[in-house]
Amino acid sequence: MSLHKTLNLARKLLLVALAGLAFAAPAQSEPLRIEITEGVIEPLPFAVPNFQAENASAGEMAQSIARVVAADLAGTGLFREIPSSAFISTVTSFSSPVQYADWKAINAQALITGAVSVGTNGKITVKFRVFDVFSQGQLGEGLQFAGSAGSWRRMAHKVADAVYSRITGESAYFDSRVVFVSESGPKNARQKRLAIMDYDGANLQFLTDSSALVLSPRFSPTGDRVLYTSYETGFPQIFLLEIANVGRSALPTPNGNMSFAPRFSPDGNEVVFSLENGGNTDIYRMNVGGGGAQRLTSAPSIETGPSFSPDGSQIVFTSDRSGTPQLYVMSANGGAARRISNGAGRYNTPVWSPRGDLIAFTKQNAGRFHIGVMRTDGSEERLLTASFLDEGPTWSPNGRVIMFTRESQGASGAAALYMVDITGRNLRRVTTQGAASDPSWSPLQ
């Protein structure tokens, strides 16, 4: 059922409930549910009272965790937070019964309660429950997460992931990170360095200094490594970086002038990339550790931007063999390719969704840039954004949100990261310290 229909149904049920006042029995209610596929017209109202501090030292953290949970949910555009100033009930204990009528009166359809305790070893434990206010019942079991105090944001994201999953029936994306290029300096002397942060911009860490130009980092499917292009040697070359110790090594690519546009295979063991030789760029794959190099395209045109399908059997890429850059799909072992982009304009940076159902891309047409999605056969193209310069989509781990680079026009133009739902709704800027480009989203941690 589409989201729209579900919500309409939810609204009808709400009207019935209101008309019948207290007569709407919980058993007759539809369970609390959002279907994401067609975008949310009316976000679902929720309340997150401050989590209970089960000992004195947990007080500040209990408040902060509740705020992160609320920000995660509200940021999706699927949910709307009801401010605490509207609350009638005060939650005084994690185990005390929920006063459903008080939450219903302020139209909170979902209620999230939680508690935080700090152990003698400094570890924190976060417990939470989700309630379907209109059905007057708990949604799923209560859960708890334990970890170091320094990982409190991760635990908050895990709570929000669980709430999101229970209400949408889909996997979530809050406990994830983004590797990107942090930019500074004027347009004609740009400094770039690799950086990593939580998906919401928190916990920023730099992975390289700005002594060498770096481009287009890509997360490994295991979330612990990054492939990127660096001019460290004076020439663009692909590097592999271990996030844990920030150790990096050049990929031993086959002889050629420059290597770039890397992406991991779904198992993380191989890399598919572009190699330039004598001015011509083609696509290769090889083992991440070196060896096993295989040339996949052999044409005088530009072949770049390769991306594996999640099952590893196919590769989508850009080629200008027709005269302009267009999207093609071939076997992951090379061979014949079929063109899938058919609209007016130029298509670049294709990336297969983690669900396997869609391909996101950058489209340039009539002086504008767009982020778009199409089915893997090229049908049902939909443009999600339009601006002076949008490029480089990356998928959220659940395949529902796309992050990309938006660069503003003119001499003072600067790059920033944005997110948009695959429905085209809920376009918003991602908070970063300074200018940022080329995001790559990690898997769910």
């Binding site: 330039e276 004598g278 001015g279 760029t281 770049t304």
Partner: protein, 168 residues
Amino acid sequence: MKQITKVAFLVLALGASACTNPGRFDNMGGAGAGGAIVPGSAADPSSPVYFQQTVGDRVLFEVDQSTLGADARDLLVKQAAWLMENPDFTAIIEGHADEQGTREYNLALGARRASAVLNYLIDRGVAPNRLRTVSYGKERPIEICSDEACYSQNRRAVTVISAGGLTS
């Protein structure tokens, strides 16, 4: 080693310029008080600065093209002649694109442009082992406005002269 080569070369260059280009740099900087040409200055026809400023170090391209136009070919004939006359120098040819394109495609496009220049210089007799290409795509614009006046200057291939050997 590099330093020694450079010093030896500059002495040779000074001698050559004194013989073959007498009085040619009257209006240019670099002439010493007694009219002697300062080695390595813009007045020294064997200097990278002279190559950059007087021979001309860059050719421009049409949107999305890597074809060399008539003006570009004329300039590259002069670049090739200079490189032939100054055999101790090597060159890296940088290919660039304007900002109207995605990062990775523009890297490939810049490589095409640099390669077009490299191939032309080789055709004119420059030894291939003295030349190398690199593409910066849209990463290093020299003009920063967002219209054709700037874009046309950014779609370029620049021949950068250096005294050292090429590493590969």
